[in-house]
């Protein structure tokens, strides 16, 4: 369920110095992280532990699928080094004085990989179709076109987008707008659009792509092959092809990197970093990512059991009782930093409220708060919650709770649970682990019976650079879709709608900071750490942009063999 978050596992705010630009806007494709002369040719072999679950943008959820969409499909804009928005297919854009009409000027001469011309008509059809079926088949990608009324294509290289309200973050939103070939997808639209959801491009290879690559071979749990689209409008691929191989576990991936069977591992497990760093054959890069781990707390005011957890003061005590430094050291081998904000470091200083800092690990303070709240320790060392009366009356009970731990985490969730359980035992709270299964199962457990069954989970979010999406996950409107805490605060729900229409960045920043502060105070999550992304590549290749996975076509077009 939350894998969509993983699309942004790689972005960073203070990116390591990257020499050249990429993709749209005519920036140079070469360079990447390491520089050197560009030697064309060869097959770039990429290893990953995240797979492409579907080549249909209306169905896919895994981050690797979105990376494939970036490679396959034209986008008006994309993120380049910085990270900053830059043109992909669009060379320039203008907006009307009322902010309701945006006009994009597109690069001419592009072709789909089957030889058909790529025109603004394809973009208009895709946009209008998404809007038309946004309550159904195209819902998964409709957020990118929030408040879009329609799209027009006055000519082959001009696209006009009409909004019904001013939107604060048009360009970051459009970065997620993948333009599909009308001549391929339209026949599946039918009368209700259902075919758009059930169409499987992976069953019709090679795919028809207008971006940098088309896919000639697809194996969901094997190797997927990206071949350069000769009609691509942008900088061409340096490699003859990219073979992306999925590994069910990182041990095998690192073994294959060691054996020379892959050239690039897109996420090195934390326990393998030191050995790779000591091996002169490999370049190991680590960058802060958008991924923030957390203890998720059910804050649905209607929950019937363990209602004491609805008290923000109790949750503050729990944060004092949690030793983040230990988690950083043991789970992430130092490749993470303690974190408290709902947004990640990737959002940058403009969006991050500087007042939000992690509380120090202080079990004495936690004990003091819990004592003051009236939770006395029993003879077994576990605190007791007194009985309550009223509509949500509950009997006296020990402070003993279950924690859902999904098995789809990219770190050792079981070990992290043990650390937290040991920490909380010191303040008289007993935890037991509940196997969460995959993301879908875990999310099902959280949302079961209208968010009334679970108490805690440990999970993470990989966030977008623009704060809109992450803020939306805290609203009532995202219940059963992305909201995983049951958090439902009317002020926050309204503030979310308001911030999306504030086109003055300063005004929007002020409101976003207030929203961050509110979430930090209410603690539907105890944020734990901001992870680092660690990648490793064989030194026979260079030009990698490890931070732009899922954001930039240069992620695959730029790498080249060393001279």
């Amino acid at each position: 369920m939350r894998a969509r978050r993983l699309i942004a596992t790689t972005m960073l705010a203070a990116v390591v110095a990257i020499a050249a630009g990429c993709g749209g806007g005519g920036a140079s494709p070469a360079g990447g992280g390491s520089g050197g002369s560009v030697v064309k040719g060869g097959i770039l072999r990429v290893g990953t532990t995240n797979y492409i679950d579907s080549l249909n943008p209306f169905v896919a959820i895994e981050s690797q699928s979105y990376n494939a969409f970036v490679m396959e499909y034209p986008q008006l804009v994309q993120y380049g080094p910085g990270p900053k928005i830059e043109g992909d297919w669009a060379t320039s854009w203008t907006k009307s004085s009322d902010d309701l009409t945006w006009t994009f000027h597109l690069k001419p001469g592009g072709k789909w990989s089957d030889g058909k011309p790529l025109t603004a008509e394809d973009a208009a059809w895709t946009g209008n179709t998404i809007v038309k079926y946004q309550a159904g088949p195209t819902a998964a990608v409709a957020a990118a076109l929030t408040h879009v009324k329609s799209m027009d294509a006055p000519n082959a290289t001009t696209l006009v987008i009409h909004y019904d309200k001013p939107v604060a973050n048009v360009l970051p939103q459009l970065e997620q707008f993948f333009i599909l070939p009308e001549h391929v997808w339209k026949p599946f639209e039918g009368t209700n659009g259902k075919g758009l959801k059930t169409f499987r491009p992976e069953q019709h290879l090679p795919t028809v792509a207008g971006g940098a690559y088309f896919i000639s071979q697809y194996q969901e749990k094997g190797t997927t092959v990206f071949k350069p689209n000769p009609g691509f409008y942008g900088p061409k691929s340096n490699a003859d092809a990219v073979a992306m191989t999925y590994y069910t576990n990182s041990t095998s991936m690192i073994a294959d990197l060691d054996s020379g069977n892959i050239d690039f591992a897109d996420q090195v497990p934390f326990n393998a970093i030191s050995s790779l760093k000591n091996d002169s054959r490999f370049d190991v890069q680590s960058v802060p990512t958008s991924e923030v781990t957390n203890i998720t707390i059910n804050t649905n005011p209607l929950k019937s059991k363990n209602r004491e957890l609805l008290d923000p003061k109790l949750r503050e005590a729990l944060e004092y009782a949690t030793d983040r430094d230990s988690i950083v050291k043991v789970i992430f081998a130092g490749y993470a930093k303690p974190w408290a904000n709902m947004l990640s470091v990737e959002s940058g200083s403009f969006w991050l409220n500087p007042a939000i800092k992690p509380l120090p690990y202080d079990p004495d303070k936690a004990n003091q708060i819990l004592d003051s709240l009236g939770y006395k320790k029993g003879s077994n060392g576990i605190r007791e919650v007194p009985a309550t009366t009223g509509k949500y009356a509950q009997p006296a009970h020990p402070m003993e709770y279950g924690v859902i731990v999904p098995d789809s985490l990219d770190f050792n969730g079981d070990r992290q649970f043990q650390i937290i359980a040991d920490d909380w035992a010191k303040v008289g709270i007993k935890l037991h682990e509940i196997a969460g299964g995959d993301s879908g199962q875990a999310y099902g457990m959280e949302t079961a019976a209208q968010y009334t069954k679970f108490d805690f989970a440990t999970w993470d979010w990989a966030e977008y650079i623009d704060p809109d999406a992450q803020l939306s996950y805290m609203t009532r409107g995202q219940w059963y879709s992305w909201n995983d805490t049951g958090y439902n605060v009317p002020w926050f729900n309204q503030a979310y709608l308001t911030q999306a229409t504030l086109t003055d960045p300063k005004q929007r920043q002020a409101l976003v900071w207030k929203m961050e502060a509110r979430v930090a105070h209410d603690r539907p999550y105890i944020q734990l750490v901001n992870e680092y992304l660690v990648t490793a590549d064989d030194k026979t290749w260079t030009g990698f942009y490890p931070d732009l996975n899922g954001y930039c076509k240069c992620y695959y077009t730029s790498p080249h063999k060393t001279g």
Binding site: M1, I43, R45, V59, I61, Q134, A135, G136, P137, A139, A140, A142, N192, K194, K197, T198, R200, Q203, S216, Q217, Q219, E220, K221, G222, T223, V225, K227, D240, A241, A243, T245, Y246, Y247, T248, N249, T251, S252, M253, A255, D256, D258, S259, G260, N261, I262, D438, G440, G444, Y480, S481, W482
Partner: protein, 324 residues
């Protein structure tokens, strides 16, 4: 009981077991949470859209009616349609099944050869270092989780020897040129070797212990003593007299352990990212693609039942006393 009676009894028993398995297969997957819409990850979809998907797969009908439709389809060899990709279930599971079968066969052969060899040596050299080391090794490997053996093999065999630790074929095979049949074959074998070895190592311990125990029993029989008294060579005594009689329990064990062999294959496939029936099962589970899960479980269940049926027949052939 005559031989014919025995045959009929085992056949009827197998048919009843198949029917029970079919029914349980139907019930189990409808008792699980989620449905075809869950697999489409349709959080925002309208009620109408969800209903149309449910209707498309006949999930709106009463359960009893669904059950008869299911039986009717099975009778026509139709395992249903995947709710994830709309393809016939058989098309979805045929490829993974074909990938897994050679691995299971190779792994089983490795385990039998290793198990019989070490079991015989341990029994023949009872009480010696050879016996102790073989027995303890067999116990150790029997007790080890298969995935752990897999990880050890990756670390200590795959990396030093440069053998592929993942997948079923090289990631560059056929991308820029068309490979020859020999290239494809040798590539497949190189990728098959380690998973099969792990499966074999994980299974051989049990076989070794059974063979040792059975061999010790037969080595104490009068006919073995007679053979020795006649001056037969050790190899002949073991091969012609003792081992053949000691194989009876192994035949049963191999058939009975088919289920655990498949379970072991699932774990091995996960370690080596081997795209077989194990990974297909995990994928189908994650997608709530119950028709595919149902198809996989049905085929695996039928395999075990058929293997047991064949074992019964083989046992009857090897040991006619079973009808007494």
């Amino acid at each position: 009981m005559s031989g014919a009676d025995y045959l009929i009894k085992r056949t009827v028993f197998a048919i009843v077991t198949v029917f029970v398995a079919l029914t349980l297969n139907f019930i189990l997957f409808r008792a699980l949470p989620g449905n075809a819409v869950t697999g489409l990850r349709c959080g925002h979809c309208t009620k109408q859209f969800r209903e149309s998907i449910v209707k498309q797969y006949g999930l709106d009908k009463p359960k009893l009616q669904q059950y008869f439709v299911y039986l009717d389809r099975l009778a026509h060899g139709d395992l249903g349609t995947s709710t994830f990709d709309n393809r016939p279930v058989w098309d979805d599971i045929r490829g993974p099944l074909v990938n897994t079968l050679p691995m299971i066969v190779a792994g089983t052969v490795i385990s039998i050869v290793l198990g019989v060899m070490t079991g015989v040596i341990a029994a023949w050299r009872r009480g010696t270092l050879a016996d102790t080391s073989n027995t303890w090794s067999a116990l150790a490997f029997y007790a080890m989780p298969t995935q752990w053996i897999g990880i050890l093999v990756v670390f200590y065999i795959a990396i030093p020897l440069g053998l592929p630790a993942s997948g079923i074929e090289s990631n560059t095979l056929g991308i820029l040129s068309t490979p020859s049949t020999w290239e494809v074959f040798s590539d497949r074998v190189s990728h098959l070797f380690l998973p099969a070895l792990v499966l074999g190592i994980g299974l051989y311990g049990e076989y070794a212990l059974i063979v040792r125990s059975s061999m010790l029993e037969t080595l104490g029989e009068d006919y073995v003593l007679t053979a020795r008294a006649k001056g037969m060579r050790n190899w002949s005594i073991v091969w012609k007299h003792a081992l053949r009689n000691a194989m009876l329990p192994l035949v049963t064990l191999i058939a009975l352990s088919l289920g655990s062999i498949v379970a072991g294959a699932i774990v091995v496939e996960d370690v080596f990212s081997y795209p077989g029936i194990g990974l297909a099962t995990i994928d189908a589970l994650n997608r709530r693609d119950y028709p595919v899960l149902q198809g996989i479980f049905l085929i695996l269940t039928l395999s075990v039942i058929i293997a047991n049926f064949i074992a019964d027949l083989v046992y009857f052939k090897l040991d006619p006393r079973v009808t007494e």
